[in-house]
Structures are given as C-alpha cells and as structure tokens.
C-alpha cells in the first residue's frame, strides 16, 4: 500500500477536531448566552434545543483526544502536559455544564445554581479551549520526547486573545443556532446577540490573523510565501462572503442562513490554522510524521474508521433530523 498513513490520519483528526469545534461550539455557545436571557422559559427552550444532541457533540472531543493517543501518541504525550492547567480547567468546566443538562430539571430551588453552572462551565471550557489553541500556535518546547517547558508557559497575551476570540465565536454559533431553532421574541433576541457576537468574532479573527505571522518567522513565510500566499489572499474574500451571508441572514433571513454562514467562518478560520500548521503537528517542534504511531497502529484503526466514520456521520445526521424544526415554549423533552 502506498498510502501515507500519518497524513491520512492527520486529516481525520483535523476533521474530528473541526467537527467538535462547530458542533459543541454551538451548544457551548448556548451556555455562554444563558445569562443574557432573564426569562426561565427562554432558557428552558434554549437548553432543550441542544439536549438531545450535546452528548454526541462532545464525543468528538473524546475522538480528538483518544484519536491523538492512538495515532499521534507523541503529540498527545507532549501537548497535553504543556496545556496541563487549561485542559484541567476545561475538563472540570465540562463536568459542570454536562451535569447541568440533567440536574437543572431535577430541582426547582436549585435550578438557578445549575443555570449558573451551565453558563460558567460553558464559558470556562470555551476560554480554555481558545487558550489551548493559542498556546499551540505560539509553540511548545519539546526535548527528548517530552514536554520541556514550565506549567505556566501557555499563558501569554496571545493565548488570552485566542481565548476571548473563541468565546465570541461560540457565542455567535450559539446565537445563530437559536435563530435557526426558535421563533418569536427569543429568535429576535438571538438575532441581536448574533450581530454583536458576529462583529466580535470577525474582530477576533482579524487580530489573531495579523498577530500570528509575527509569532514565528515560519508563519510569515507560510502566509506570504508562494504558493500559500494565494490562500492568504483568497481567505479574506471568503470571510467577507461569509460575513455578508451572516449579516443578510440576520437582517432579512432565512433563519438557516446565519448558522450556515457562521459555520463557514469557523471552517475558514480552521483552514487558516491548518495551512499554518502543515506539516507540523506541534508547530516547528514536531511534524506529523515524527509524532505518528507505527504504520501497524495507523492501519489497524484506519480499517475500522473507513467503515465506522461514515456510519457515525449517518446516524448523527439522523439524530439531528429526528429533532429538526423549530422548538416552541413549553415543548421540551424533560
């Protein structure tokens, strides 16, 4: 077989992480927006709109993490210790928001507390993921197949910026999801929030994009060298297109357009990160091939993945289809 297994796996892992970002992105975004909706019945609808799917969404995070251990164990073994504090914060935050989905409906007196847990957990998890991305982009130090930095290395102005940008981005996805799934006053409020979150997201993407080339000469070459400069020129145009779709969808409809446009923004931003990284797994420290497990491991898991991933996508799509359409007040699952 002449397949370059590490590259194939890098593509699959990249897909899993993207799937995670956009899918859990909107349900984390719902949590981020939670305190902006003072009416309990609105928050009930918001949570119900993601209750049947959040668990599947979060499974992509396990796929990203578990997959990394399976096919790029050295990357897993160096990135995770480097991001020790933000990842621990993310995991604990996900505990809070995950149980809030169930606990909130089990207690009348405590539901405010679990609303707060849902918001706090979603916001902290998002911020931590953004920080993790920023810390990875700015690079981590590796010696002798192990992380060689300190346990505060991840904290820089750049990583705080990426954390804040991701908060805006997930809030945008969440607000657009609400535009798609709700109606009436709730949808109108979500539209207003989506406009603000959209502006913040675009600003965040812009600043991060301008900053990144100055973090490392490697990024500068990549962005302004041939042939990748073609992409550097094309992306702003595509982003402008997605932003236009977002604006149009939020002002005139249809209700699916903002969500699709926001997804487009995320895919473009993600592709930008991917172009900057390739062929590095950890920028300028560990390539895809250096990090990869032996071919026996990659081939063994690929055989099943080729069959299973399409099946997973099919039944995930089916689950979304079952719960399609607008959700009304009082129409819940709990």
């Amino acid at each position: 077989m002449d397949i370059d297994l590490p590259t194939v796996w890098a593509a699959i892992i990249a897909f899993a992480v993207l799937a995670y970002v956009v899918m859990d992105g909107f349900d984390l975004g719902i949590g981020i927006l939670f305190p902006l909706f003072p009416e309990r019945k609105d928050r009930d609808v918001m949570m119900n709109s993601v209750a049947p799917v959040w668990d599947g969404n979060e499974t992509w995070l396990v796929m990203g993490g578990g997959g990394l251990l399976a096919v790029f164990p050295l990357a897993y073994a160096t990135i995770l210790p480097a991001l020790y504090a933000p990842l621990t914060a993310m995991l604990l935050a996900l505990v809070f928001r995950g149980v809030a989905f169930e606990y909130r409906w089990r207690s009348d007196t405590g539901s405010r507390r679990w609303d707060l847990a849902f918001f706090g957990g979603s916001a902290v998890a998002t911020f931590a993921q953004g920080i993790a991305l920023g810390a990875l982009v700015q690079g981590i130090s590796i010696e002798n197949r192990a992380y060689a930095g300190g346990w505060w290395d991840w904290l820089t102005p750049f990583s705080v910026l990426t954390g804040a940008a991701l908060l805006a981005g997930y809030a945008l996805l969440g607000a657009c999801w609400l535009v798609l799934k709700t109606e009436g006053g709730l949808r109108d409020a979500a539209r207003r929030l989506a406009r603000r979150a959209g502006l913040a997201t675009l600003a965040g993407m812009g600043v991060v994009s301008l900053w990144t080339p100055f973090l490392n000469a490697g990024y500068l070459d990549r962005w302004f060298g041939w042939p990748t400069i073609g992409f550097s020129l094309l992306v702003p145009l595509l982003v402008a297109g997605a932003a236009f779709g977002l604006w149009r969808g939020l002002t005139r409809g249809p209700d699916w357009l903002p969500f699709v446009s926001a997804l487009g923004l995320f895919v473009l931003g993600y592709a930008g990160v991917g172009i900057s990284f390739y062929p590095w797994m950890v920028p300028f420290a560990l390539t895809i091939h250096e990090a990869a497990a032996p071919d026996e491991s990659l081939a063994f898991l690929l055989v099943g993945s080729v069959v299973l991933l399409p099946m997973i996508l099919a039944y995930t799509a089916y689950a979304y289809w079952v719960f399609r359409g607008k959700l009304r007040h009082g129409e819940g699952y709990h």
């Binding site: 209750a51 049947p52 799917v53 668990d55 599947g56 979060e58 499974t59 396990v62 993490g65 578990g66 997959g67 990394l68 251990l69 399976a70 096919v71 164990p73 050295l74 897993y76 073994a77 160096t78 990135i79 995770l80 210790p81 020790y84 504090a85 990842l87 621990t88 995991l91 604990l92 996900l94 505990v95 809070f96 995950g98 149980v99 989905f101 169930e102 606990y103 089990r106 207690s107 405590g110 197949r145 192990a146 992380y147 060689a148 346990w151 497990a293 032996p294 026996e296 491991s297 063994f300 898991l301 099943g304 993945s305 299973l308 991933l309 997973i312 039944y315 689950a319 079952v322 719960f323």
Partner: protein, 467 residues
C-alpha cells in the same frame, strides 16, 4: 503547597480518585441500559403498561447517571496525557487504537442514539425507539469490551515488540486484544455491572415495599431484580474463581498479595481469612487461617506448593495491605449477594417474595453493595499490578508526565472538590427520582394515535393495571 510531595504519588492519587468516581457510573449504566432494553422489549411484546412505566421511571435515572459517566469519562481520556505522558508515548501505539475503537464503536453509538432513546419515542415510532434503546445498551457493552481489552493488556501484555525509540508496537493485534486475562476480566466485569444494577433495582423496590406501596411496578421490579440476582450471583462467584486461577497463572505476585502469603509454602498453603498484613515485617499479624485451604482453592490439591512474596524483591511487591483487604471485601460482598439471592429464592418458592419485610430490609441494605464490590475488585486488580503500569514491562515510576508536584497537587484538589460537590448533588437527585412514583403517561398506554386529544381518563387506565 505540595512542594514536598512526590509528583508521581500525587498523579497516582489523581488517577485513582478520578477513575474510582468514574467506574461507579458505567458499572451502573451497563446494567441499567440492558434492563431498559428488556423492559421496553417486554412492553412491546406484551403491551402491559407496567413495563412502559418502569422504562420511563428508570430512563430518567439512566439519563442522570449516564451524564455523570460521560463527563467523568472525558476526564479519563485526557488524564493519560496530562499525568501519564511517558506511558502514553510508549504504550499509545498499542492501547491507543483500542481506545479509538471504543470511541468509534461505542461512544458515538451511545451518544448518537441516547437522545432518541430519551426524548424521541413520539417522534420516531416504537420500532425505531426500541432500536435506539438496543443501540445504547449495545454501546455500553462494546465500550466495556474495548476498555477491558486495554486494561487486560496492561495486566497480561502480549503480541507486541519494542521499537528503536522504546515504544510498544503491535505485532499481532489478535494477541493484543485477546490477551490471557481479557475474557475473564470482561465476563467478570459485565456480570458485576448486572449484579450492581439488580441490587439497585431490588433496593428501590424494597424501599417502596417497606413504605407499603404495593404497586404492580414494585412487584415487577422486585421479582426481576431478585431473579437476576439468584442467577448471576453464583455465576459471578464461579467466574471470580476462574479469574483468580488465571491471575495465578499470569500474575502470581498479585495472588500472593491477595492471599497475604509472605512466606512460600512448599507443602500446602493456608487460607488466611483475616489478619493484618505488614509489609515492613513481611508477615501477617494475628492471622486467622485454615491450613492448606489456599492450595486446595488455587491448585485443587491440599499439598500443592505455593510460592510467597519471599520470592519477590521488596521493591517489586504490590502494597499488600490494600490488596489483601480489598479482595476480602469483594469476596464477602459476593457471598452476601448470593445469600440474598438464595433467601429471595426460598421466599419465592414459599410464595412470600412480596410479603417478607426482613427480606426487603436486607435487599435495601444490599442496594449499594454492587458499587462497593466493583470498587474493591478494581482496587484489587489495579493495586495488585503495582509497581507496574504494564505488568513486567513498564514501571509506574517511569510512566508519569514531567509535571511538577504543585501542578499535579493543585489539580488533584480541584478534582476532589468538584467531584464531591457535583456527584453528591447527583446522588441526591438520583435518590429523589428513585423515591418518586412511576408516572402514568396516558397517550402511551392507549395504543392509539400518538397525540390523542385531551386528557385520557387516568383512573380508568390505572384500574386496568390493578391499582
């Protein structure tokens, strides 16, 4: 804080704490998912509303327990990398793909169909809803299969080679997965999950019975739980014995620690019932023993020689004190479960299963026994594997991340605080759900159109079912 602590010890405490909390939920949800599938299947087959009411009753509890299992499980999938990066780098090529298959075949399956199982009965129809429930139940079992293949490989590794950078690399996947202890551990754990669930269901029924709630749901629960117990408890004891013999063959040091055998016994080893193992003195104080019984159990021969820990270097001995006691707790609870099952059987044969307050009290007390036994069993097998992470191949001391003690200690404290707060609240909510009445949902009982107009007269429906 924590500057004077050993980072590896803190990392071990963190893993032990988070995995001990986590295992409680799968142990319950594996059994409960199967029980839900059985209840739904019985409802579809017989049409008796009692089964649907029980399904709805346990479904909500399952949702809570499953959510707690998911969030504590995500922690586990990252803990290998944060705290055990050297192990992840070295063993990742072998155990990683197995965990990858766990995600692909089990986690997605459970998560994908859970929403439909919990919320979708009216949207997809009965057949597909039953299918979704079966997928969730199957997912929990597949998950157990893969993760136990991983754990068993760490106990009895085979089918691998070591490459030039010191990684374990797969040579024969069949040998890796079907390593010697895997079939025993898998059956032992799945039976344990079924026992745990039966005991919980039995205790919930017993609690309602003791409060005088003589509903058909309670009868059905209690009968099903005790029936399951009387079949599975003896099977589990048999399976535990086989698993022990397998351990004796492949990890004899662990069995020495379980038995408290510091000395070798060339002509028949005693069974130490109780005592205080003392590693420093390499002896068991105040041992109460039955001569030669250990040799009989382990070798099926009174006079068979058995090696003791005196054949093992001190630094390669597991913490005997822990393993010795956790093993005894597990075994004692196993026999208590058998006792409860037999008691229920006798009561049933005499026609007094639903009319024996002391039996119901015993069933209530035994409600948490499955969880305790599962934890004790895992402590036995995991602590008994020490000082190795991969038995005979990689030491725990060589497996940790290059993270300083303050970082590991701080995150350990955070996990302890958050887990106790969150899971204590969850336990309260679950107990509250267990104490409520099974609800009547009229539209599901009529068998007519899914959205029948108005309110179907509740009393008439209840009368049909006998209360």
């Amino acid at each position: 804080m924590f500057e004077n602590f050993d980072a590896i010890l803190l990392a071990r405490m963190q893993f032990a704490f988070t995995v001990a909390f986590h295992i409680v939920f799968p142990a319950f949800s594996i059994g409960l998912a199967s029980y839900l599938a059985v209840l739904l299947g019985l409802w579809l087959k017989t049409g008796r509303p009692v089964f649907l009411r029980l399904f709805d009753f346990w479904k909500t509890i399952f949702a809570l327990s499953f959510a707690m299992g998911v969030v504590s499980g995500i922690v586990m999938s990252y803990q290998f990398g944060t705290n055990w990066s050297a192990f992840s780098d070295k063993a990742g090529p072998v155990i990683g793909p197995l965990m990858g298959y766990e995600v692909l075949t089990a986690f997605f399956l459970e998560a994908g169909f859970l929403g439909i199982m919990l919320f979708g009965r009216e949207r997809v129809g009965r057949g597909l809803h039953f299918f979704a429930t079966l997928m969730v139940a199957g997912g929990t079992l597949l998950s157990a299969t893969w993760i136990l293949a991983v754990n068993s490989w760490m106990q009895t590794p085979q089918g691998f080679a070591i490459n030039e950078v010191g990684q374990f690399v797969p040579v024969d996947w069949w040998a890796v997965i079907f390593n010697p202890s895997f079939p025993y551990r898998l059956v032992h754990m799945v039976l344990a999950a079924y026992l745990t669930t039966s005991l919980v269901v039995g205790a919930v029924a017993a609690w309602h019975k003791l409060r005088g709630r003589d509903w058909p749901e309670v009868h059905t629960m209690f009968t099903m739980a005790m029936g399951m117990l009387v079949v599975v408890a003896p099977l589990q004891i048999l399976m535990g014995d086989l698993h022990g013999l397998n351990t004796l063959e492949h990890q004899p040091v662990k069995v020495m620690a379980m038995e408290g055998h510091f000395q070798s016994h060339p002509d028949g080893a005693p069974l130490i019932l109780f005592g205080l193992p003392d590693r420093a003195a390499q002896t068991v104080h105040w041992a109460v023993e039955i001569p030669k019984l250990s040799s009989l159990i382990l070798k099926h021969d009174l006079n068979a020689p058995l090696d003791g820990l005196d054949t093992v270097a001190r630094e390669l001995q597991p913490p005997v004190e822990i393993v010795f006691w956790s093993f005894r707790i597990m075994v004692a609870l196993g026999f208590a479960m058998l006792g409860l099952g037999l008691w229920a059987l006798v009561a049933a044969l005499r026609g007094r299963l639903h009319d024996s307050p002391w039996l119901h009290r015993a069933a209530l007390v035994m409600g948490p026994a499955g969880f305790v036994a599962v934890l004790a069993g895992w402590i036995t097998t995991e602590v008994g594997r020490q000082p190795w992470t991969i038995h005979g191949q990689m030491l725990t001391a060589d497996s940790a991340s290059p993270i300083s003690a303050p970082a590991v200690g701080a995150s350990l404290v955070a996990f302890i605080v958050v887990y106790f707060a969150i899971f204590a609240a969850g336990a309260v909510y679950i107990l509250r759900l267990m104490g409520r009445l099974p609800e009547v949902k009229d539209k599901d009982l009529t068998g007519g159109p899914l959205r029948s107009a108005g309110i179907t007269p509740g009393p008439a429906m209840e009368a049909q079912d006998g209360h």
